[in-house]
Amino acid sequence: MSRFFATGSDSESEESSSADEITPKATGTTFSKQALLLSDDEEDTKRVVRSAKDKRFEELTNIIKTIRNAMKIRDMSKCLEEFEQLYRAFLKSKTIVDKEGVPQFYIRLLADLEDYLNQLWEDKEGKKKMNKNNAKALSTLRQKIRKYNKDFETEIVSYKENPEQSAEEEEKDDIGSASSSKSDDDEDVTAKSLMKKKPQEEEKKAPEASKFLKGAADEESESEEDEESEDWGSDSVDSGGESEDNEGAAASLAVVFLKKAQDGDKQPERKKDDRRKRHKKMEQVDEEADEEGEGEEGGWEKVKGGVPLVKEKPKMFAKGTEINNAVVIKKLNEILQARGKKGTDRSAQIELFHALAGISNENNLGEGILVKIKFNIIASLYDYNTNLAAFMKAEMWKKCLECIDELLDILFENSNIFIGENIAEDSENLAISDQPFRVRGCILTLVERMDEEFTKIMQNTDPHSQEYVDNLKDEGRVCGIIDRLLQYLESKGSTEEVCRVYLRRIMHTYYKFDYKAHRRSLGLQGETKSEQDQEESEGEDSAIIMDRLCKFIYAKDRTDRIRTCAILCHIYHHALHSRWYQARDLMLMSHLQDNIQHADPPVQILYNRTMVQLGICAFRQGMIKDAHNALLDIQSSGRAKELLGQGLLMRNMQERNAEQEKIEKRRQVPFHMHINLELLECVYLVSAMLLEIPYMAAHEFDARRRMISKQFHHQLRVGERQPLLGPPESMREHVVAASKAMKMGDWRTCHSFIINEKMNSKVWDLFPETQRVREMLVRKIQEESLRTYLFTYSSVYDSISMATLSEMFELELPTVHSIISKMIINEELMASLDQPTQTVVMHRTEPTSLQNMTLQLAEKLGGLVENNERVFDLKQGVYGGYFNRDQKGGYQQKQNYQRAPDQRGGYQQKQGYQRDQKGGYQQRQNYQRGGYRNQNQSSY
């Protein structure tokens, strides 16, 4: 190796030598592979031990390789990093090292690295040129390796004394490779003869070397396919010669021939004949091979090496093998073993599965095995993206849908297949027999995963593109699959599974407005024929479906999460279809409001969505207050977008790191399920306006006026700050302008601001029952304007005729009467009704400002006394007290309290008159304070 590097680093740029560079390793690989396989055949028992060791050593060699590369390009930081990794890997393989001794290649690297570092260290010029990171890494690495090498002092010394000897094996390889590289052009006899000796040597050779080479080859083979394939070719020729000598190696050699057969075209013409002969020979050998599986495995492992797999397909089973269940399952397992490993070509794997399915189909191996294979295909389709955040490609997705559909087809056709995740691998029954098939696997999980993938796809598609629409069309298929699964599981699955699949169904139903049912309830016919057809083809109302599914879940589900989701979806669906009372009752009965903060974020998002939908529903029904309350939480935070999972807020960017952002992105609701934020805000602002404006008018002179809606006030302030007031443009401006009009009791202007073309197109037309909502709104505006008018201008009137009011606000007389009566009863309006003349007579009993102020002062004093009492409570016993007299009183009183609890009644009595004087706050006081006051009174 060291020698190789000496040359390699000299001529990195030159193509010829770079070819040289790769060739030796490649050759080495084949040899080592052979050695390995040979030994495998010979000593099967030792195999496990070896593979553990091999694995470790492979890891080590890989790292060493990267280190050497880093050394070449003088990337010190990389070097340091890798060295640390190497150290860790070495520690891991400690047991093996103890058994086998420290591997030579390891020692070699240590020695080389140290030399190299020292050399670098001396090179002051070079050091100066290095960037800071590298320089730092260099010094750290140097120190580290010095320390570390102490442990291996003797080995290193011996290596340094005699580097040739320790590098013996490699050199042999190198020689071989050098010659074989030449053999690319013409088959060198010397090379061949050398090769012949190889296997024997290899067998004797320390196993680590072979492993080492194998690892190197693996890496190399991935990166440089072209050149390698050439190498393969030459190698196989060599080994072909060998096979005559060594019968034991037949199986593995066969593999080599396999390779060669594919690359045949690339080989020079004159070699062809030769090879064909050998090819035939190989086939013979192949057939002779007893352990077909072993041979296949070898074949498979090579394939990993990066040779195009498609060509491999026909070779899945050796010719003439009787294809039966056992063989196919074995094959399946083989493919499965490669799953998840680094370097496994996932798309190739899928192809393989498909081919296997085809084969089993051809040979009529029965549905059992087909189902099994299908399961695996779907699973590997999901596996295709290792990254959880990435979404499936369109073609994969299509394939996945098809596969699941086919799987369901099979399952429906064959009722004698049992599938379940609890069936153990060995109790599976895949063969055609009298017993029903038993297959391990969970179709539900697959479908759930499919659903998630669908969501992911939708999340990752630009919602304003045609692509999104196209993708959305798949929703029908997804729903179809879920429906079929639902049917299947209803007959076969456990209740838990049924609950799960029901929830999936619900999740696909709850947010869709059922136009058909809506029209039916309105008594309208479908406008066109095709629509009617569609109506007929569709089954029951979504409301009925929801009801049925949800009720099943409520009754049967044992996991809290599914039930919670089902309830929320149910409420959402009710609310969406304006069934306000059902929705509200369900919400209140579920008590979700109390404990939703303990749920996981997706459920919380669903909860928020539900609350919002509930609020909008209440608004449509004219329950302004309910609407406001439901929307308050979401709107007051100003993060409605985030809370509903409809997008991330930019201003939070610096607060969260990339990881969190990814998680949050995954929680986003797909665009087609979004709730219109502008509609939401408008509904909120309008309901806030309808509540707040009369309230503001009623409490104009209150010093401590509370706000009903902070956000609404904020909007008003923003509106006031405008230096120049133009006609309103945005929805908010419309609401602010309307509020201003309403403040003056001018309902007509208010009406024209809230309901006009702009607002219609922006907001109101989004409701299903637009006209009804608008009528409701007008009515509310009239009523609230009347109230505001009365609050604001009652001081101006001595009396006012209800007829006039009714005319002014275009309300019927009884309505005006009822509104005014209500205001009088609630003591909002100090007036009385004069029945005969139908007039309102004002009383003018509003407190004067001095009285108002006195009331405020009283309130403040109440607070002050309360605070004072609190201080006093604390002081008892603990602190000497500030006023001696008080302190004494308090202390005594405490004694009293402890000694004679029956006296408490007395205290309370004495306190009674005070309570009358000072009002509510005293009720909160405890007996101690009462006692204290009592003491004070007596001491005065």
């Binding site: 001095l850 102020m853 002062l857 403040k860 002050l864 602190y879 001696n884």
Partner: protein, 317 residues
């Protein structure tokens, strides 16, 4: 207490000063000059502090005072500094600023007083001029600058004992009597009957507003103190716990024959929380008291007037 004689000249000068320079809640101040004769203090003259804005930094107040006093001496006027005067707005004068400056006066010139002139009450028809001194107790505390709750408690000082009012006797020279009579002739009838004005709400509202403001301040102070008390208790408990634990450990160690853990300075580990200064609370209390008395006086006076008016009405009708 020393009785306290003022010449009418001083009173008129103060009134004039306010009329000319004071507006609304703005406060005017000036220096009182006089002599201690035998056992009483006579204030014979005064001069105002000039109003100056923040802009002219180079204005030297002390310089101005010295200059002024020197000039007055030249015209043979009593030039001894015996105190200062200040106008007030609805009786709000008990403040930290007043306390500080009066303390420094009283500290330097033992017999000095502060004269508080209430222009609003005066405008209502009765001259309102009051003289105050800090009580010896308060002087003591201010000298030590220790306003912690303990110190104030030890000093037994409440808002009632902060300021003492000194009786005032106004002495008029004949010339001034003549001038006053002359002025009385000139004044209009309406001015004379200002005393009988029945409207009260304006004055009361203003007073209430100020009172409320102070009550708010008081509430804040109390909350502060409350927090302090709670923190103190909490810490006391922690300290107790710590001591107990340490003791247990030590007994255990003793039984094992190990040396006891060294005594650490507990006060270092548990620093007592900073006690809020109580002087502000006292001042606020004093101010509230002052407002209340003002309001009480005003309302009782007004009630009297209302009865009088009622009687008059009954009589005339």
């Amino acid at each position: 207490n020393l009785p306290f004689f003022i010449t009418c000249l001083v009173v008129l000068k103060i009134i004039k000063h306010y009329q000319e320079e004071g507006q609304g809640s703005e406060v005017v101040q000036g220096v009182l000059l006089g002599l201690v004769v035998e056992d009483r203090l006579e204030i014979t003259n005064c001069f105002p502090f000039p109003q100056h804005t923040e802009d002219d930094v180079d204005f030297d107040e002390v310089q101005y005072q010295m200059e002024m006093m020197r000039s007055l001496r030249h015209v043979n006027i009593d030039h001894l500094h015996v105190g200062w005067y200040q106008s007030t707005y609805y009786g709000s004068f008990v403040s930290r600023a007043l306390l500080d400056s009066q303390f420094s006066y009283q500290h330097a010139i033992e017999e000095s007083v502060v004269l508080i002139y209430d222009p609003i009450k005066t405008a209502q028809g009765s001259l309102c001029l009051k003289a105050y001194r800090l009580t010896p107790k308060l002087m003591e505390i201010c000298k030590e600058k220790d306003f912690s709750p303990e110190a104030l408690k030890k000093a037994c000082i409440g808002y009632e004992h902060m300021l003492e009012e000194v009786p005032i006797v106004i002495k008029n020279s004949h010339l001034i009597n003549v001038l006053l009579l002359d002025l009385q002739e000139k004044s209009t009838v309406a001015d004379k009957h200002e005393l009988l004005n029945l409207s009260s709400s304006n004055h009361l509202e203003k007073s209430l507003q100020l009172l409320m403001d102070r009550v708010d301040g008081m509430s804040q102070e109390i909350v502060k103190y409350n927090t302090y008390c709670r923190n103190l208790t909490k810490q006391q408990q922690q300290k107790q716990q710590y001591l107990q634990r340490r003791q247990q450990e030590n007994t255990q160690r003793q039984s094992r024959g190990e040396p006891p853990l060294p005594e650490e300075d507990i006060n270092k580990m548990f620093k007592p929380p900073q006690a809020p200064p109580r002087m502000d609370t006292l001042l606020i209390a004093g101010q509230v008291n002052n407002y209340c008395q003002n309001i009480k006086a005003f309302t009782s006076q007004n009630l009297g007037k209302l009865f009088m008016a009622e009687a008059l009405q009954g009589h005339s009708s």
